[in-house]
Symmetry: none
Subunit: 522 residues, 2 copies
Amino acid sequence: MGNILLYDTTLRDGTQAEDISFQVEDKVRIAKRLDELGIDYIEGGWPGSNPKDITFFQAIKKETLTTSKIAAFGSTRRARITPAEDNNIQMLIEAAPDTVTIFGKTWDFHVREALRISLEENLELINDSLVYLKERVGEVIYDAEHFFDGYKSNPEYALQSLQAAAAADVDCIVLCDTNGGTLPHEFPVIMAAVQKAISTPLGIHAHNDNGCAIANSLMAVHLGATHVQGTLNGFGERCGNADLCSIIPALNLKMGKECLGAGRLATLRSASRYIYELANLTPNKHQPYVGNSAFAHKGGVHVSAIERHPETYEHIRPEAVGNRTRILISDLSGRANILAKAEECGIELDSKDPVTLEILEDIKDMENQGFQFEGAEASFELLMLKSMGKLKQYFSVTAFRVIDTLRESDKAPVSEATIRVKVGGKVEHTAADGNGPVNALDFAMRKALVNFYPQIADVKLLDYKVRVLPANQGTDSVIRVLVESGDHDQRWGTVGVSTNVIDASYQALADALIYKLYKDNH
Amino acid sequence: MGNILLYDTTLRDGTQAEDISFQVEDKVRIAKRLDELGIDYIEGGWPGSNPKDITFFQAIKKETLTTSKIAAFGSTRRARITPAEDNNIQMLIEAAPDTVTIFGKTWDFHVREALRISLEENLELINDSLVYLKERVGEVIYDAEHFFDGYKSNPEYALQSLQAAAAADVDCIVLCDTNGGTLPHEFPVIMAAVQKAISTPLGIHAHNDNGCAIANSLMAVHLGATHVQGTLNGFGERCGNADLCSIIPALNLKMGKECLGAGRLATLRSASRYIYELANLTPNKHQPYVGNSAFAHKGGVHVSAIERHPETYEHIRPEAVGNRTRILISDLSGRANILAKAEECGIELDSKDPVTLEILEDIKDMENQGFQFEGAEASFELLMLKSMGKLKQYFSVTAFRVIDTLRESDKAPVSEATIRVKVGGKVEHTAADGNGPVNALDFAMRKALVNFYPQIADVKLLDYKVRVLPANQGTDSVIRVLVESGDHDQRWGTVGVSTNVIDASYQALADALIYKLYKDNH
């Protein structure tokens, strides 16, 4: 049982990702959440390269963190000046973080081509930058940039550069796979050589360019590293940094390593979600441990086994990381899936009840028509409720019309929908414009219903997908529409199928609203 | 230098993914593309579990594959019957594939809890199922389900189960990490024990539940496995299967292993894209090797280094896998692509011609709007021709209207389109019904044009895809429509983008007809 220090660089290396840009307020909110999660170090930015980052270091001082230390990032001094003359280094000290991390060059090729100085001079500036900082800052970490490529190019020199850092008595030396090209089987030999050359505690900083960042990080820990750098959700340049959302549970649950505090691992999924939200990115369904699909089961054989013994097809208990088992409904599914799904929705269904078999038949029939209930669990739930006679008729649409018009002078067509809806004997007949026919129909339907059901105003259309299913020869193609809707506390998916895209969309939209009304009632 | 056999299970294990469902036609198209890529084995499905899969094995026989063998998947026989009496096994033989792969139980816990038979009986049914198949099928592969978990629970029994398979003289024994929970550092000891127990060639089948599927696959090869199972893009249940798009280049470029044929590695990215398209999924930007961001550089320091020496921040040359370096601030690398594309279409374009730069600007502008020309090469070609002044105005649509009506007595809405088209001074004003607004508009447009251009009658709409692109805050979502059309000798793709789905569809449909007229002229 050893203790591993977690170093999160979502706020620095994470923002190098193509699609990520955080405001200072976002960075402060993320830092507070990482602190709650129990991360040991939060790298807040590079004060010498980015004015936004200076503001962050000022702002974070006003917050009370209970666990995390704040680290500032920078580089070794420039050539031919002293650390005291180096603006970059001075700004690190001014930022007044708990910890300073600077990177230096390990790879002889980079020393010659990027720094354009002698190998000897590089060793000097690594050492004196670190000595200078170590005298002025409580804790100093050294990131050996391109360590693995450097070692492969010139092992003696790469190790000398680590020794130059070790001689400055730094608190940790981090081996960086900056280009992300190293494979796990290369670690044992390289780590052994490092451990022979220096006795400073070692860290790992892996990038995911070959899809091995998580594995490489865990391999380094297995071989003795005690400090792991990464980002939540693996955000980072190119293919991303090592994903702490996978590393943390593996360390805790599989390798017997202590990290985070007691009871905090179960908040991992919600922390992951929170950061996706602030980054305005859709979470990766298939993300290990924390993704929506991470414990989702489709095959009938798997499902009946899972019900009896979850460990048959789950490598950990999903609850350990705040996730849950999900049973998917598809053409591969059997009766066990239906029962499991019903239970999940809080619907009592007896395996001997003929209605179970009826639902199964209905589903097979609908799947043959082109329905698909994965991603449309709300439609599935409505289907079950309807079969069991437990679904109220909230409204009925008796007529609608959608008109799209393009005239000579228009840049794009204009869409208008009219609709006639009946609710408890009352008829509402109304109209709305929209961006395209589906949008117009959606608006008109809500407008017609909102006077009867004000909560309809909370529902948002979040995603809309259309798939044309290949037709048999001589027949019309079938169109499947998947709609994702949400309100302030939930998201749900619905589906419609028809040869007519408007009809399929209408079915999915209507289901989305019915589901909202049903769930608010129960 | 060794030879590694690649075994793709996109069509079987890949379809276990939550969001994937392929029609038989899709499966045939994917198999053909995997064959072109140079994959050794294509696992087409499980004939005993799914009627759709039987149809696939019939359909694929009509195609000529140049590289790949087709494998059918199934399980060992059931208890208390002979292989000859086992329906599952008989259907494998009836499917008449080149290779049969069956899985059996390795984990004592599963034998007791799932099969509910004795450990001894399980060894018998592994052996006699394989012996029976080996006598009737050219090549037999054995998937040892849950091998790693089984080994950890009861190493002696796990190895005995492999020996039962080896005694049947199977062609390959595949160690499966079915639950995806194994870590790379566990491989050396386990693989050594296997290699001591049996001498059959070994394969690896890894799942990504701990984010290590790629690493585990490569680790197994490093330790002597010669057969790797995975899926393109890592499609698969829960967190996916091992992604062949990362494994293949690592084997080829980093581990000195032969796989695919000469020159085919550079088609990896386009194969990856093709399969995303057929699955109607958005490609993962950050996917190693083949993702759009895999070689995208944001930081200023990196960019200037990259310009001089790409190896400073790129672990491989992106061109090796058909990808490219992208500089996110000033993207000039596109010019070469444009020239290459023009050449491919038989259009003469001079790199010094200002029109090249203009096309580049147009494309950037359109890509910012949401256009995407992968899968819409006909629209791309028309764009180039238009910029060069080489595209004739075949027709202009001056107005259209589409009306969808649902009345009380209707089962589904009725769609009608009217259109006004001008061709060489003559105006045609006509109308048509259709299944949905897009279909009606398509019919009306053809009806208006066919008197001027009779060849329009040959064009068929083969596929129609709609994707909603994420909107910026406060703006409307943008919709992208991809249309695939065909005539008796060619297929082509076109694209349209708008906030209105009818407008986007109209653009793509109009391009499809213009392209037909252009190509018949040249």
